[in-house]
Amino acid sequence: MTETNLLEPIWLRVLEITPQLTKATYETLLMVLIALSIAAVIGIPLGVLLVITRPGHIWEQKWFYKIANLIINIIRAIPFIILMFAITPFTRLIVGTTIQLKGAIVPLVVFTAPFIARVTESALLEVNKGIIEAFLAMGASPWQIISKVLLKETRSTMVLGMTISAISLIGASAMAGVVGGGGLGDLAIRYGYQRYEGDVMVVTLAVLIIMVMGMQNLGNSIAKKLKK
């Protein structure tokens, strides 16, 4: 057999599964985007609260801080695959099902929101205390300090943090796919693992790698633009 003969079946197979591949890519992106948006809406304010409620900060709330900190640590300690099954009653309560895109989004959000909260927290803690004091001295309200100092000064770091969150979501979404959310992870497992079609697996992985690299590059360049 010649080399071309050896390669031919792979390309043919890839062509064959292109519709599924496109669909799976679309599903993954959709899952990541929806989960990331919802998780950000929960996680960023939570991260801000984790910063401003700590002792000596602009809105000290000792108990809120302690409890929120504990809950986040607990969720963060649970591996996603376990979390996904552990919260099925909750998932059903929220979206009425534990399968399909809807069913996958809920555990993804529960997984990612605390992550984003921590990313936000560590970014905001980098803001020099002196700057916050200068704004307090100028008569800024807590809300103004959050929007005009904390989030504004860290916007570049925050974009990088969100990029990391998005990429970790791609990984988690692959697992969520197994329970019926679809996506690239699901495709890779169904063809590559269960049917021993290594070539499909390789192509799927290639798409995942490109996706991760694309997101990281996009995040980096936005962050760079925002930095000054």
Partner: protein, 341 residues
Amino acid sequence: MIEITNLYKTYQSNEGNVEALKGVNLKVEKGEIFGVIGFSGAGKSSLIRCVNMLEKPTEGSVRVNELEMTKLTKHKLREARKKIGMIFQHFNLLETCTVFENIAVALELSHIPKASINEKVNNLLNIVGLEDKKNNFPSQLSGGQKQRVAIARALANDIDILLCDEATSALDPQTTEAILELLLDINRKFKITILLITHEMHVIKKICDKVAVIEDGVIIEEDTVLNTFTKPKTQTTRNFIKSIMEDELSESVLKKLRTKKENNKILRLTFIGGSASQPVLAIIAKELPLWPNILCGNIIQIKNQTLGRLIIELTGDCQSIDEGIKILKDHNVITEVLNYD
């Protein structure tokens, strides 16, 4: 006007309580530049931070323009703070914002419309002399330029009072001069009352009208700067003065003086303003059998007054020396007899 009465500040920490301020009383009149000087840990920052409630006093009263600061609601406190500017040792600018944005943000806090912000910021940039840097970032500025931005930002909301927490301590001597000039300018042009804290006597001498010396949480001396320089009451104050004005004789000079056989006295003479222009030493030498010998001399500028200080040796008979001292005093020269034996 700032009126601090019986102010106490105690910090609570795991290692125990720290009494940073122990019953401070202070009155800063409108339009004045008032300096508080003290060594590290004396309680200077605690004091100035209690004025705008960045630090909550443990006890006592702080009144700013007749407003009791310790009893304000959060909202009222924010309103009051808008009229009290503050600048810091480390400038505290937004690193990701341009000079323009750093100043504009102060106006945004007060919900000033965008159109007037533009005009106002340009005006402020003009006051602090940074028009050409408006699009630069703080990382592209020198320390002095950063402090100018901070001053412009503090001035943005038409403040009555400016608090300066070691505003020149991170700057080199030349830049310090320029920033002090700017503060003086602001005080004169806009009638802004300035309360500053420092550990450098030079800052006090250059721009302050009044000075208080703080030690260990207590004000140990308070007077006009001129009086403090001419008649210091405590050793701490004397040490601060010595840091910018040498008025002790060196050991080698003292040694020579001790071996002399003639009858002499060592005098410290302080001339203020007008008395500096009269040739008073020539007068006593001409009228009495006395030989004045200058051992050490200084002239310093205290804000808008000249202060001259001489240490002289006066040789002659006892009676002539006493008469000479009288003539000096009649000419408004502050005369002290020093004992070096």
